[in-house]
Symmetry: C2
Subunit: 455 residues, 2 copies
Amino acid sequence: MAKIPHRIILTEEQMPKQWYNLRADMKEQPDPMLNPATLKPIRTEELYPIFCEELAKQETDCTTHYFDIPEPVLDLYMTYRPSPLCRAYHLEKYLDTPAHIYYKFEGSNTSGSHKLNSAVAQAYYAKQQGLTSLTTETGAGQWGTALAEACAHFGLGLDVFMVKGSYNQKPYRKSVMQTFGANVIASPSDTTRVGRAILEMDPETTGSLGCAISEAIEKATTTPGCRYVLGSVLNQVLLHQSIIGLESKVAMELIGEYPDIVVGCAGGGSNLGGLIAPFMQDKLLGKANPHFIAVEPASCPSLTRGRYAYDFCDTGKVTPLARMYTLGSGFIPAPNHAGGLRYHGMSPVLSKLYHDGYLDEARSVEQTKVFEDAVLFSRLETVLPAPESAHAIHGAIQEAIRCREAGEKKTILFGLTGTGYFDMTAYTSYLEHTMTDYIPTDEDLQPGFDSLPQI
Amino acid sequence: MAKIPHRIILTEEQMPKQWYNLRADMKEQPDPMLNPATLKPIRTEELYPIFCEELAKQETDCTTHYFDIPEPVLDLYMTYRPSPLCRAYHLEKYLDTPAHIYYKFEGSNTSGSHKLNSAVAQAYYAKQQGLTSLTTETGAGQWGTALAEACAHFGLGLDVFMVKGSYNQKPYRKSVMQTFGANVIASPSDTTRVGRAILEMDPETTGSLGCAISEAIEKATTTPGCRYVLGSVLNQVLLHQSIIGLESKVAMELIGEYPDIVVGCAGGGSNLGGLIAPFMQDKLLGKANPHFIAVEPASCPSLTRGRYAYDFCDTGKVTPLARMYTLGSGFIPAPNHAGGLRYHGMSPVLSKLYHDGYLDEARSVEQTKVFEDAVLFSRLETVLPAPESAHAIHGAIQEAIRCREAGEKKTILFGLTGTGYFDMTAYTSYLEHTMTDYIPTDEDLQPGFDSLPQI
């Protein structure tokens, strides 16, 4: 048999033209979002003040299996997709493992990450509805960059509330968003009621995704022609990100492979949910039984140490309630360079699948170990990974070593969500040994759990 | 006919496995390099103290048409190559031009540019010869990053002399090189004799590529097991970079296109020479007549305002003499954000082709115009270009507009050499209107010309 190429890139014809809605194949559905005022399941129309209508419909649709990707979205996708499925030959050789290691590389676009997949979709639907601007939050800056790019393309205004820790650590991220015409605001800020309230309680806070979400929603709901968009956690985001897994599956079929193990980094779940989608479908339908592993930071361990409970999606408690693994919306994660994984909760779909045992395993890991593998990987495979992505690299390397020790020739697939070009401060602190690890004690986690709504 | 895809990416089988040596098809050869002491043509063996032997042979070989790409080089190439040939549909639509615009995108690797193509080759040959370390210079940081990556891969030590202007403007570039294990030194430095001499004359200098070259050569020739490598200008570099043009040509053949116009940015000539190589072959052999355009910065106009003369390749006057278009090795370019194009000379091969009229046209352009098109392009095509690459974008846009005005449906190919992730300081200064243009007067150029050797 011919050697499998280093990179498998589908043609435009081979690229899937529909998104896959994982919920439609789940026998047990995630619990519905609740209106926090009534504690009743939220109706689609109740979401219209926050989300544009088409996205609100996608958010609550648990029955439609596939959604056509609109033509203008496909047309922008094709400037950077299909993305390559890469065989990590050099890493395999270095690890001396019989495992086959594949990674789906989502970093080949200006935004530098998979976030663009949903940004393009969300900006398109907003434009279709005649909206004039959007608001959002960003942690590591990947989502904000992706959305800035999408908004520039479709001609929409954009306010980005950027977690203050990242805002200060990543000035160039800010510049990229500004290059695409976005207005970037450090969060918490004094431009919103909720931001001012948080600053009053803790003027020195470095912020969090949950807090930035609150500010962005307040701005969206108080500005005419404006809506809020979110880059993770939501069902609609997992839907759009299914393109990652769908392409991966087609590419693997072409080379006669199927993953025994699928590894993804987990913050809000956008990449993990998209990557595993079609393979999880196989599992739900009893067609295959891949082992799914979520890797999250030890400093923000929502799956491994959180509670499966109804909670607000934001710190300001203005969102609907979602049932998910959560550290509590009052949990403010310690400053951690892997900014994009600093979120108190986890996608309700993934939470449900984890709760029911379909998402097999979650691991939390300290960032110095993550960076060790990030540096190794970059030297072997010519990709400098984002710290978020490096969590998945770490998990895949653990599995490949296990395969070596057990003499098992398994096929490992992991998601390499983006590049680390804007994370050099973090790389430098790792290289200079000034990077520290933080594992919260149970006591550290208690205030977050205390903030959970009593339902 | 089916619509041409947004991106054409060759398979590994379709990828060329040999480099093409343009000199072998030039009826009139570039003038030979001279030993500055004897003024006689330099023999290959005389280059061995500077370059490793295989590269010295490639440097002086004017007759071999094709060189096999060694297996380990191919194996690393394939982690990021074949690179995509992209159809700029969104740009075409925006410009309302009948022209077809293609760009060969070389930014999809950690180094962020085409420079990796030659870095991998040069590091490989050095390792083969049993050398233990290399030295080099870098302007914008692209070459240094690429070489750091290649040296990390093959296990070689590396000292990078980085032009001081870039060193200060691009701290994260430095971090990337350090992540790959390189030792990065701001040039001019006090670690070399020539660096100390330049600093004595002008302690405030922001440096230049020519000066950094002098330092790197001094370090290489005074350190056992060490050689010098260069990312542009040299014949061997153009040879390795021919992979850009060779892939482009195969990809265009697959979709039934051939370029009427080929546009490249021009600093030392590494990208332009590689991009045009196989198309120039067609022109030299009378098979086709594409129009070649070099675009250089107005602040460092070696082709448009330089002299075709024998000159040193470095400021310290330690290199052999090459006949090329040059502003004089004593020319210190004004600080200019497009750092990679700040070099006083131009590849001798390209210089000869320009002098003889085969390289049809050279244009110089102010950087604010370049950045205007860079921002436009990034918003339309999801690629944030390096400032160097944006010179080519500017040239291609000028041609596409000309096609619209003339109603001509020409096919334009340009080289998009890399990404601008590390150039956000420059983008910010453009966006904040603090970026200025600099066009040297004839008087400004005179000291450079006065520094030319009297031959």
